[in-house]
Structure formats: C-alpha cells, structure tokens
Amino acid sequence: MLKYSSVSSLLSGWERGGEMAKTGQLGCEAAVGSLTPAKKKEYKVSNRLHEGKRPLYAISFNFIDARYYDVFATVGGNRVTVYRCLEQGLIAVLQAYVDEDKDESFYTLSWACDLDGTPLLVAGGSNGIIRVINAGTEKIHKVSFVGHGDSVNEIRTQPLKPSLVVSASKDESVRLWNVHTGICILIFAGAGGHRNEVLSVDFHPSDIYRIASCGMDNTVKIWSMKEFWTYVEKSFTWTDLPSKFPTKYVQFPVFIASVHSNYVDCTRWLGDFVLSKSVDNEIVLWEPKTKEQSPGEGAVDILQKYPVPECDIWFIKFSCDFHYNAAAIGNREGKIYVWELQSSPPVLIARLAHAQCKSPIRQTALSFDGSTILSCCEDGSIWRWDVVQS
C-alpha cells in the first residue's frame, strides 16, 4: 500500500511568530516557515520506475515549449532518457540515449530549443563534455561542447532565448554557450571568479544579462554580461568555425554574497530575489542589494527560510514549477518537502514520504502547474507524485 503523509494543521504564520528564527541581527530576521504542513494540497505516489542501479542526478520537465509540458528527461550514468507523463500516473518512455563512453556519468540536463523550435536536450557530466541532443531527430545536434576542464555540475537554459545555455563546472568556471552555433561565448571565471567547483547556476527570469552561480567556495556570485552582450549577439550570426569565436572572459561578478558557510549546491532566481541552499537543512531566500557605484560590493538581506530536515549532504537540488508558486526538494532520507515559495512566511504545502523511498533524492521536478512532482533518487528510481483532487 502506498503510504504518504501530508497531514497538517493549518496555522497562519503570524500567530506562530515565536518560531521565527533568532538568527542574525536584530531587525533583520528572516521569516522561517513552519515545518507543519498546511493542508493545502495532498499528493500521493502514482508511479515509480527503476532505471537501473546507477544514481539519477537530474530530472527536468520541458518548460520551453508548450507542446512538451508533459515531457521530462532524466540523466544518470551514461544515459539520458526522455519520458512522457500520462494521465492516471502513467509514464511512457519516449527516447533513450546512451553515451558510448561507459565512464561518463551525467550530472545535469536542461531542455533548450534551437531558433527554429527544435527541442534540444543539453546534458553534461563527469567528462566535462556537454552533449546537445536533438530530440526531434534523435541525433547529436551539430556539435558537442568541449571546453570545460572538468565535470559539468549544472546546465540551465535562458528562458527568453532558449538557445543560450549556461553551464557550471568543476573547473571553477561558468560558461555561456549558444546551441544554435555551438559557440562558447563567455567564460565567467578569473580574478573574481569562483575559487572551487561551481555547483549551480541560473538565469535571471527577466533580466537577460544576469546570472547567478554558486559553488564549493561557499559563495553565490551574480554576474552581468551586459557589457559583453555584443558577443552574445555575434554568436548567433557566426559562420566561421566555433573555435575561432573570440570567447571572452568575464572576470568580475557584480555581486558576491556570502550567505552560507558551506558548499552552496543550488541556486535559483525568484524574481529579483535569490533562492539558494547549502547543506544546512534549509533553503534561503535573500535579496541582493547591489551598489551601483561599486560593483562586487553590496549587502544581503535574508528574507525567508524554508527548512528542509535531513538535507545536509551536498548535491541535492530543488526545483520550481513554471510560475514559481512552489518548490520541491528531496532530502537524504527520500522525503520531499513542497514549499509555497511566495507566501510570507513560507507555508509547507506538503511533506511527501514513502516507506520504500529511502535513498537520497538528488533532484525533483515540478510539472507546469505543480500538480505532478517527480523525484529521482540515488538508487536509480523515479517516483511520481500526483496531487489528490479533492
């Protein structure tokens, strides 16, 4: 029997003010969400799959193209698999790709699309080679991106220009690529760059120049490519060899935030605010307050905290639905916490647990409207949770 627990007692945050964390300076307290789930939604397991024994590190819905809102992909080992979420909890395999290099271990993937709308899958892993797969033709799309000196930890797609992808790597750099031409446009590294592996990166949803990256140097860095935008434009019309493109180094971020004191393994923009998590059992929402005159400096205002118990190992990533209403994150023990992101104080929508789901959940995926939650586990299983219609 499937067991899940999303029992809760509804409590408005204000009455529970005593639970507000006493961290930080007076008057800068963050609103901390209560771990008692609000009975807003109930989810139950509707399916689970087992891909294999190798851990699955990433799972992602395609939000780029409205046709494929129900299509998702997973990566694990040397394999990339594409599925479709069907009704009644069914999952259908659509495509599977296997890297001929058996030692490859993919860590991340992202959906992108070419200028003509071809759906693309961009995946990267321990080899440091970014694979661009044309899901429309089931072939490698033009080229693979070679350049990272070590494993690729995360790839994200620019939602406004979905042929731009950005990758975070162990080689301490973040790179911006154009999948249309196969060009490495910018490298975010150097004097002001990360001092250790970069674990996560994300595009600002509306400010096309802005990205945030975070990593093992415990910092979150916000970069601007405004001054380098001509190169981005140039990359679309480049006809020569991609290797001849004048790739530029962006050496100085506009903002460096020390929000965490340990590895920062996931960061996402929430409007102009930033969500980031370390290994401290919580997701933190903060506002970067940059100074116009002096780039690189600024203050961090920690606004909210979303506690996630037993989430103290690194490389556990959270995901949001299309409208950023909710975020889902797994933990070390196979439980999933679904947080309402934009309410203040945060509300725990549900806590998902299943007796047979015990291994760490590396990544989750929320469907377009948040009604389906997928999780991929270290033991190679995929779990599907569907909201219970009441």
């Binding site: 494929y68 809102y69 395999v93 070590d150 909210q304």
Partner: protein, 924 residues
C-alpha cells in the same frame, strides 16, 4: 518602516511605563521590569515591522514575477504554435513518440493492481540493448537506446587566465585564514573542515556597528523610561554591549536628529558647505592617483606586479630642468622683470649681489654638485628654498656666531625644514606623501645633526662649501667653529639647542622679511639694521624686534596670499618642482589664464617668507620628535596607501607544512632575494635596506649612481652577453640598456641604423625576457600524461623559450595553497625567491603545462630582469619543432610525489590524476 499597527502597539505600551516612571522609582525591581518590558515591546515591534516589510516586498515580487512567467508562458505557447505549422515538412520524432505513447496508453488496458506491485523491476546491467522501464505497459514500454558517439575528453584542468607577466596576488585571493572544506571522496558524503590549526577567524575584532534597529530600541526605551544608568545597563544587556557604548550611541543619535532637523530648517547652509568642499579640492587630490597608482618601475598605472603600495623613491640625481639662461627678456607685459625694471629695483641688495643673479641665471651643474654634498632633499623646491635660505643663513651665521652658538646647527635645520615647510604650505601635509617626505627629510636632518655633533669640523666645512662661498661667510664659519668647539666641550650643547633654533627661526624670518621688503622697497636699510642689531645685541633682544617686523610683513603678505586658490597654490608648487624659481615659465605653463607672471613672482617671494616662518615649528618638532621619527614614517606610509593597507596578521609557523614546489636549484636555501628599491638619498651606507637585505641597488633606488652597492652592468661588446664572461649573465641577470654600456637593441633589420654606442652591430642577447622574445609554445595532449607544452619551431641550445608566469604569493600563502593543490595532486607552485612563490594555478601561461622529466630537454632559471625575479625556460639542447617540452621540477627529494622521485625516473607530470604508469618517455 513603521506601519499603523506598530504605532498603535507602541502607544498602548508606552502608557503603563509612563505611569510607572512616576510612581515606582523606589522599587528597583519594578523599574527594571518596566524597562525590560519596554525593550521587549520595542523589540517585538521591530520584529512585526520586519515581517510586514518582508510580506510587502514578497508581494511586490510576486506581482512582478507573475507578469514575467506570463510572458514566458506566452513565449512557449508561441513556440508550439509556430513549430506545429512547420512540422509538415520536418518530422519531429519527439512529437511522434509523444503521440505514440498516448496511443499505447489508449490501447493497453490497465490493471489496477499492476500499478504499484510490480514497479520494482530491477534492471541488472546498463549494457543491455534495450531500456526496460517500470512495467506499466509490460514489454511495450521499451525503446532502443540511441548511441551518442564518444567524444574524446580533455585532460582535466582548472580554468585559468593568461598572464603575460607576473602578478602579485590580490588580498581577496588569499586562502590564508579561510576555512576550506574538502569533500572526501573516499568517505562518501563526509565533509572535512580542515586547516583549523591557525586559521582562527579574526573578524571578531571589528566592532559591530549600531544598526538602525538597535538605535530604535535605544531611543524608544529612553524616551519612555527616561535616561538613567539602570536603563542603560539593561539596554546594554539586551543588546550585548557596554553601557558606555549605549550611552555614547544615544548621544550621537540625539545629535544626528538635531542636525537633521537643522538641515530641514535651512537648506542654504548645505549649499554653502558643498561649495566650500569644491573649492577645497586641490592638486594633491587630483594627482593622488598618479602618486598612488602609477608604478614608477613599469611606468604604467595600476601595476599588478608591484602593486599600488610601493614606497615613493625619489632619485637623488634628478636633473634640474629648465635652467633659464635667456634671463632678462620679459615674458610678457605682466612679467615681473618688466615691472621690476620699471620700478628700478635692479639694485636689489648690496649685501646680496648674488641674489638676483641666482634667481635669474643659475648654473645648474654647480648647484647640483653642491646639493649632493649637502645630502638634502632633492626636489627642486627644496633646492630653491636652500638657495634662498643660503642668503638668510649667511647672515644668520653672522648673528649666531656672534652669540657663540653653533651655526651649522640651525642652518641645517632651516635648510631642510624649509623643504618641510614647503610641503606644509600645501594643505598642511594632509597627504601622506608629503608627510612621508617630511619625515624623510626630518630623518636626514637628524642624521646630519648627529654627524655634526660627531664631526663638527668636517660638516662645518661641508656646509661652507654648500653655502655660497662668500669669503666673509667663511670667516664667520671659522668663528663658529671655534665657538662650537667651546660649546661642544661643555655639556651645554644640548640645552642650548632649542634656543638656537628659535633664534635661528627669527633670524631666518627677519632675513626673509628683508628680502621681501627689499623687493618692495628699502630693504637695504632694514637688513642692515637688523643684522647690525643682531650683531650688537644678544639674540633675545634682537629676536623680539624681529618678531615685530615679521609680524607686520606677514600680515601684509597674508593679504597677498589669500587671493590664491588652493588649486592654484598647488599648481604653483608643482611649477616650482618642474621649472624652479622661474615665474615666467610657471605662469605660462601651469597658471595660464589664472595668474600673471608678476603675481606668481610675488607669491613666490611670499611663500618663501612663509617657509622660513614655518621652519621654526618644523625644527622644534623635529628635535622633539626625534625618537618618533621612525614610527611616524611608517604611519605616514599607511596613510598614503589609504585603505589599501596590506596587513599581515599572521606570524610564521615554525613547523609549517611545506607543500611541494618546483625549484631551480637542488639547494635548500634560497639564493635569490627579493629586491626592494631603497630610498637612500646619499651613497648607501650600512643602513641601506638593499645592503641589509643583501641585494644590489638598482636603477630604481633613490641613491646616486655612484653608489657602491649598485650593480654596474656590463661592458660586453662582441660576446653579446651570452656567456658567463658577461657580468650580467654571470649574476643571472638580464642586461639593462639603462645600466649596461653596450647593450642595445636595433630596430628592424638594421638598415635604419641602430644607436652607435658600441660602434659595432653586436646586439645584446641577454634581454630576451625584457623584450619578450619568446618562442611560440603550443598546448596539447601530452605524450606522457595530461596536458603538455610543445614547441612550434625548432630552437638551438640555450635558446630562451618563454616565461613561467603566475601569481606572486608569499611562502605562507603557498603553503596553504599547496595543501589544497596536493590534495588534488596538481600543483603549479614555483619557488621564486626568499619572499615569493609563483602560482600558475589560476593565472599563468602555457608553459605551466610543461611536464616534469628527470631527463629533460629544458631548464628553468630565475633571472633578475629590471629589478624583478622572473622564471625563464630555456632549451637544454637542440629541440626540434613540435617536440614536447620537459624540465626538471627539482622537487625536494623528501617531498616529491611518487612520479617525480629520482630513482624511478618517471616522466609523468604531477598535475595529472593518474599515477605515473611507466609509459613516461623522454623524447630525444
């Protein structure tokens, strides 16, 4: 921000507390409780306000975000719509499979029990040809995996930035004092926080600033309960601070509030203030970047190698520019010469026939020689000042010697102090550079004084030479000498000192006055009088009278000086430095349109007057602050750097961990010592920092060229400095065209004709690093392991290939970084000299990828190039085009990693992860 809710809350809270204040003063407990409740309530208020604020901005963000996501949604819908119309021609497999899946779903009947029961089907191997997944649809749900062709992966590396020259590490790059967390692969997810030993975080010493919230609490509490010690104590407890801090803060809050009110009331005052601030700006502020950011060694701004905190070294042999020999022609209608001629003051002073001469025409060489002897400050201001001073002192001398005092003493004081005061005029030495100058001068003066005390006679004669060699002056000197001997013998000497100085000041002043007066009119008489007076009377009497005189003149001069803006003043001072006492040139070149030559000339005299005036203070303070000299110097240096202070908080750990580093020699000790230019103004003595440090003086030192500690360069001609016969080459130095006699480089193919110093066409071959005459190096996959550096074109033996560049880091920093690198089994550390280690990990050039080999084809060599140590890589033998480059890392035997140990003779490079596998081969 306060909302309505907060207002009501605070209002309700304040009532009971007010009541208690009146009634319950006797009851201490009651009061403290009351206070606590007030504090508590204001704290709560703050928290509530904070949450309201968060809620508000979250709401705002939500609104914004919803429109953004709506836009994104439209984009994705648009993509669907446009591509659907296109798919007629182009078959989209993803869409097709999507539809297929739906079809299967419709055709296959679902049995409810299947759903969760059998979903745990384990898959054994990845190599299986089909992917079978959760058994929703049984065998139907299987697809044939599509193979992604293998792409050869790159050898691992960390993203690095190319450097064409070494860079000093910036502070924020330091790993010292930072906690580093390792992820230990062996233990799964274990986190190790190491580096604990001495990496105690030292941020704690910084005092916490009072936040606006704390201010709020303090204000509220004191407003409601009144100001008393009990309140402050409790506040201190609650906020975790001292009572005194709280009190001080409260006072400052009140003050700020008051000023804010004032500002609101009258905004005119502010305007005036800002105007003032603008006019306060001066040249020093403007040239600050030049002084602080310009590297005098590389001649570039913001030098990354030497940094912006170099000491300012003023070479002692600065040539005197612009000695205007074409004297008497007025530069324009406002020229001071024209005016003075018309007024007929040509007969300046019978006593000082040299004065005008010296002002108008100056024989630079003669002067220069005089000054070097004088061991004084070299700026032309100083020199000029001295000139003028020479006159005054000469008369001083007379006076002073009569009163049986030492003459040299005040004289020298005045001299140098004049320079001092010259800077004082500019903004009272606000700027560190000036201060530093002053201090340096001060030290020199003190040095001179000491010397004088030791060798009265010799120094005396020295100063005589440096004076204007007036015969009667001479006589007086001898008088002085005698007198000095007397006074020296007595212990009085020191006691007398201060009166001497004061005395001399007055003398100097009077002298200056007289000069000025002379310029205006009737100076002959006054000088004569004063001199006579001073001759006749004792110092006290005369000084009183002189004081009177100079007060009056000062007043007069002050009115004249006032019309000069700060910026004009500083421009004038710069002009003095550049052109000397030439008002025509200064007016024309620097103060064009602002001041006429005449005005400049007048101001020049006025300033000189002031200089002597200020001299006294300077002299006094100098003598007093003798002991403080050094201290002040360092402090002033800090001031100059302004916020860029490089503070090294740590101390060396004796039993430090030594990471493996590349080296040049097998020897344990460091033969190379980091060179820092000395600021010696005279030939370097035993205290010279260069000599103490064991380095040669270079062209960047302040000392004169004749300094015995200087490296003289070479005189090679035909040998082209390629062998150890060349002294430069032998000393592991590159030749320097500024120092060596025959070393030069031709331009082009020589058809245009090179410089002719040598008289032959033998170019120096020992300047390759300086000229960056390097070989093209290619980066590629090594035959041995990982990356390798390859040579594009073949070269001969001992040919220079390129430079190993990187970050210059301290040895301590290198130890710390080395620990990290060693964990990754990749290190690009290279021992450079006693002070620095080169780290090419994140910044460097392609040669950092050259692999280690015990039997290499290249060798590395630390070479001194223009005062900096640099690592050059040279060919050990003939190397053919396309060959991989190897050199011996020369790791210390006990620390070398396995692959670099001698006996095994494996050539694998340390940087790569796989251990050396014996396939290492030395090429040719």
């Amino acid at each position: 921000m306060t909302s309505k809710a907060s207002f009501s809350a605070s209002a309700s809270k304040s009532e009971p507390s007010a009541g208690l204040q009146i009634t319950g003063i006797k009851d201490g407990n009651h009061i403290s409780q009351d206070i606590l409740s007030v504090i508590d309530s204001s704290k709560k208020q703050l928290v509530v306000d904070r949450y309201i604020y968060i809620k508000k901005i979250m709401e705002e963000n939500k609104q914004k975000l919803s429109s953004i996501t709506q836009h994104l949604y439209n984009l994705s819908k648009f993509r669907r719509d446009t591509t659907i119309s296109n798919t007629d021609t182009d078959v989209n497999l993803l869409t097709r499979r999507q539809d297929d899946a739906l079809c299967t779903l419709n055709s296959v009947e679902l049995s409810g029990g299947e759903k969760d029961g059998s979903s745990c089907q384990e898959e054994s191997s990845y190599a299986s040809s089909t992917v079978i997944l959760g058994s929703n649809f049984g065998g139907k749900n299987a697809v044939r995996p599509i193979k992604l062709p293998e792409v050869p992966k790159l050898p691992p590396y960390t993203t690095w930035i190319f450097l064409d020259r070494n860079q000093r590490m910036t502070e924020d790059q330091s790993v010292v004092g930072r906690r580093r967390i390792y992820y230990d692969r062996g233990c799964g997810e274990a986190l190790i926080c190491s580096d604990s030993e001495d990496d105690v975080v030292e941020d704690e010493d910084e005092k916490k600033q009072f936040g606006s919230t704390e201010d709020y609490i303090i204000r509220m509490a004191i407003q409601k309960v009144g100001l008393s010690d009990a309140v402050l104590d409790l506040l201190a407890q609650c906020l975790g601070r001292n009572t005194d801090e709280i009190r001080a803060r409260y006072e400052s809050i009140i003050k700020i509030e008051k000023t804010e009110e004032c500002v609101k009331k009258g905004e005119d005052g502010v305007d005036i203030k800002t105007e003032d601030a603008l006019s306060e700006k001066d040249l020093d502020a403007a040239s600050d970047s030049f002084d602080n950011l310009f590297c005098r060694r590389c001649l570039v701004f913001d030098c990354r190698l030497h940094g912006c905190s170099q000491d300012l070294v003023f070479p002692s042999e600065k040539q005197l520019p612009w000695s205007n020999s074409d004297d008497d022609t007025p530069c324009g209608m406002h020229c001071h010469r024209a005016v003075s001629k018309s007024e007929g003051i040509a007969a300046m002073n019978s006593q000082m026939p040299h004065d005008s001469e010296l002002q108008t025409q100056s024989s630079g060489s003669a002067r220069a020689s005089l000054y070097t002897k004088k061991k004084s400050h070299c700026s032309s201001v100083g020199r000029r000042a001295k000139y003028h001073q020479g006159e005054s002192t000469s008369s001083n001398a007379r006076v002073v010697s009569e009163s049986s005092e030492s003459e040299v003493h005040p004289r020298q004081d005045i001299m140098s102090v004049k320079v001092f005061s010259s800077s004082k005029i500019k903004q009272d030495g606000k700027y560190g550079i000036r201060k530093k100058d002053n201090k340096r001068i001060a030290e020199q003066v003190l040095l001179c004084m000491r010397k004088r005390q030791k060798k009265m006679v010799s120094s005396d004669s020295d100063s005589i030479v440096s004076g204007h060699l007036w015969p009667h002056d001479m006589k007086l000197r001898s008088n002085t000498r005698n007198a000095n001997r007397d006074s020296n013998s007595s212990s009085q000497n020191k006691i007398v000192k201060s009166p001497i100085i004061r005395n001399s000041r007055k003398k100097g002043l009077s002298q200056q006055d007289t000069i000025n007066l002379a310029y205006v009119e009737a100076q002959n008489d006054s000088t004569g009088e004063i001199v006579k007076e001073s001759l006749a009377a004792g110092c006290d009497e005369s000084s009183r009278k002189e004081e009177f005189v100079d007060e009056s003149t000062c007043k007069y001069e002050n009115t004249r000086g006032k019309s000069w803006k700060v910026i004009e003043q500083s421009l004038f001072v710069k002009g003095l430095e550049i052109f000397g006492r030439n008002s025509c040139l200064i007016a024309r070149n620097l103060l064009c349109g602002m001041k006429t030559c005449m005005e400049v000339f007048q101001y020049m005299n006025y300033v000189e007057d002031k200089k002597t005036y200020g001299a006294a203070d300077g002299a006094n303070s100098l003598v007093e602050g003798y002991a403080k000299g050094n201290e002040l110097q360092t402090r002033s240096r800090f001031l100059r750097r302004r916020g860029r202070v490089r503070r090294l908080k740590y101390t060396w750990k004796s039993a430090g961990y030594h990471s493996i580093r590349k080296r040049i020699t097998e020897k344990k000790d460091q033969p190379c010592r980091q060179y820092n230019p000395c600021g010696c103004q005279s030939a370097c003595g035993k205290q010279c920092p260069c000599l103490v440090n064991g380095t040669c003086c270079e062209k960047y030192c302040g000392c004169p060229k004749i300094c015995k500690n200087r490296f003289r360069g070479c005189h090679c001609a035909k040998s082209q400095c390629r062998s150890r016969q060349c002294p430069c080459f032998a000393a592991d130095r590159e030749c320097d065209p500024d120092v060596c006699r025959n070393c030069w480089i031709g331009c082009g193919d020589g058809t245009l004709g090179g410089p002719n110093q040598g008289g032959d066409n033998y170019e120096c071959r020992n300047m390759k690093l300086l000229l960056k005459q390097q070989q093209r190096v290619l980066l590629g996959r090594s035959d041995v392991s990982g990356w390798g550096a390859f040579l594009k074109n073949g070269v001969g033996k001992h040919e220079y290939l390129g430079e190993y560049t990187g970050e210059l880091i301290s040895h301590r920093e290198a130890d710390k970084r080395g620990k990290i690198y060693d964990r990754e089994n990749s290190s690009f550390l290279f021992n450079l000299n006693d002070q620095f280690v080169l780290d090419a990990y994140r910044k460097g050039d392609k040669l950092k990828f050259a692999n280690h080999s015990p039997n290499p084809n290249c060798y590395a060599k630390v070479i001194m190039v223009a005062g900096d140590h640099r690592v050059g890589i040279f060919a050990k033998e003939r190397i053919n085009a396309g060959e991989e480059l190897f050199y011996d890392y020369r790791y210390e035997p006990d620390r070398a990693p396995a692959w670099a140990r001698k006996p095994e003779a494996s050539g694998s490079r340390k940087g790569e992860t796989q251990p050396s596998s014996g396939r290492a081969k030395k090429l040719a």
